[in-house]
Amino acid sequence: MLSFLERLIPVHRREQLEHAWFLARQDLMLASRNVFRQRRRTSVSLIAIIGGVAAMLLASGFFEWNYDTMREGAIRARIGHVQITREGFAEGGTADPLRYLMAETSEDRKLIEAFPQVDTLAPRLSFTGLISIGDSTTSFAGEGVDPEREKKASGALTILSGQDLSGIDANEITVGQGLADNLKLQVGQTVVLLANTGSGGINAIEVKVAGIFATITKAYDDFALRIPLKTSQRLLRVTGVHTWLVLLERTGQTDSFLDKLRPLLKTPGLSIVPWYETAAADFYNKTVSLFSKQVLVVKLMIAFIIVLSISNTMMTNVRERYGEIGTLMALGDTRAKVLRRFLAEGAVLGFAGGVIGSIVGVGAARFISWVGIPMPPPPGMANSFVAGIMVTPGLVFEAIFLSVTTAVLAGLYPAWKASRLNIVDALRHAR
């Protein structure tokens, strides 16, 4: 390691670097002592920074919770992490679903299921048809699913009444809340499903309503029904499926999983789509980019408030230490060094405030999440919900970074002022 460094950096350069590092440590040591010596003044500034950082974490953590819930909800209710279909299914599947059938099981499927990060692989068959009870008939979007596997893949789907599908071959369905309301369906009633078959004819079956469900997407619940895979294949008189829905242990694994999987699949003409590229994720992506801009405005406002509330104290700090500044310069410190000293004090203040503010923010976030934030149903979604606040390490890092930059910024003018003092005038203030 050292010999490597020696070859990389010539000795005299290394000595310079070491000296620079030594000076930087010296700066920070002096700065922290000065900052923490002025207890009362420092605590006034610290409180402003801590409040700002905590507020920022709560605001961005609230949005993060919403993004996360929305994303995980969509992934676990319908999208999955990776969807594997025949090429062209995404575009042409709705008009002519039966053209894009693929095998229910194959070598490739076994290969995917062998990945350690794969939680489950759920086969799905998508189709449209008509549903009738008594005199009422309406269209539906149906999904043939394997109930056993869907327990994981549809974790974010809530059964409002009745129960979930009981087996892959059961003669029953679950119905989305909007669709059920539309037909005034009750659990236990028998309905008729009508659909085009693979051979071009029309087929109908009678099934029982086992339960009524809701997802976080109201538009989906208004038309959706779910049916055991074998039952749907019987209705359509086909054997294949449309989609292998792959659910991973964690959403963060998606890209690395894709990279590993792509070269391994043997079946030609497969399309492998990560969750964020699906049409269903579009709404999520747009929402995130919209709200991220709004959160950015909030962050800037908070940064601005921090600057306003601490720059005054930082000016006082410089003004009260004119004598010390004069002494520093008389002893041979350059203007640049004096500037650096005071900027370092801002950085130390910002860092301390950022760390304490993060602790306060995370604590407050935990508490608020524990109490819960009651929320009305968002547009396009079915039900009201209780929100929480999710503070990720990334947000904490960002908050500390912001508080350090903000404090340095607030100290910029006072530090510059300090570095430009006339030495003799400054010394006259010494006491």
Binding site: L30, R33, T327, M329, A330, L331, D333, T334, A430
Partner: protein, 255 residues
């Protein structure tokens, strides 16, 4: 060689709409190794003179050469470096850094000297604290030291870079008589042992008597030059203009 050379140095301040002449055509030179007192009534220009010699103030006109460096036309950074290496300061109000311990205060001027490593610095600091008899107080903060002790730390800090010149503006004015005498004796001792040049201002007769050279100023002009030989002052009164080419040594008539 003269360590300080001033030629026709004037310093003017604007006060409202009239000018104050703090220094009026001062010409002086001091050799290395002197223990020199600048005396004069309040407002006579003692501090201004010391500030110009210390390169923390620029004259309005005239030439200033300190340890061979002509300071006119030098940038603030060049002057800072000159101060860091050749001049030590002792202040009336001690001016220690309150957040640093005695030894850290003494070490401070050494930090920017790249040629010294940690061991060198520690050695020098220890040596200096011993010299001012404060070895036991190395870890004390200024607030835990008496006035006399603080001024000793300040002297150690001024000397640690081994400067050629130490400037002290009324170093004993904030100390009681006995402590002040101790400080003077210490500076005198260092001056003898290391041949470090000391220039200090005062209006205290007792302090003047500790010096071996004297510059008396009044209204910004040099009025008296004195040399002490075998305990006796040889005083020259300087006519207003005649001071122009005077050296303290040359000006003093041998008795």
């Amino acid at each position: 060689m003269s360590i300080v050379v001033l030629e026709h140095v004037s310093k003017e301040y604007r006060l409202g709409d009239h000018m104050v002449r703090a220094l009026d055509d001062v010409t002086l030179s001091f050799e290395s190794g002197v223990f020199l007192a600048i005396a004069g009534p309040s407002g006579s220009g003692k501090s201004t003179l010391l500030n110009v010699i210390g390169c923390i103030d620029m004259p309005s006109s005239g030439r200033v050469v300190i340890a061979g460096h002509d300071i006119s036309g030098q940038t603030p950074d060049q002057l800072a470096s000159l101060r860091a290496r050749t001049i030590g300061f002792v202040f009336q109000t001690f001016n220690l850094f309150p957040v640093l311990t005695a030894e850290e205060n003494v070490e401070y001027p050494l930090l920017q000297m790249e040629e010294l490593d940690k061991v060198d610095r520690r050695e020098r600091v220890k040596e200096m604290l011993e010299l001012v008899q404060l070895g036991k107080f190395a870890k004390h903060r200024p607030s835990q030291l008496s006035g006399g002790q603080r001024q000793r730390v300040a002297i150690a800090r001024a000397l640690v870079t081994r400067p050629e010149l130490v400037l002290a503006d009324e170093p004993t004015a904030n100390l009681d008589h006995k402590t002040g005498e101790g400080i003077l004796a210490l500076m005198r001792d260092i001056n003898r042992r290391y041949k470090t040049t000391f220039i200090f201002s005062t209006h205290d007769k007792k302090v003047i008597d500790a010096a071996d050279r004297l510059v008396g100023i009044e209204d910004g002009t040099v009025r008296i030059l004195g040399v002490r030989k075998e305990g006796q002052w040889a005083i020259t009164n300087v006519a207003r203009r005649a001071a122009a080419t005077t050296d303290t040594e040359a000006a003093a008539p041998k008795r």
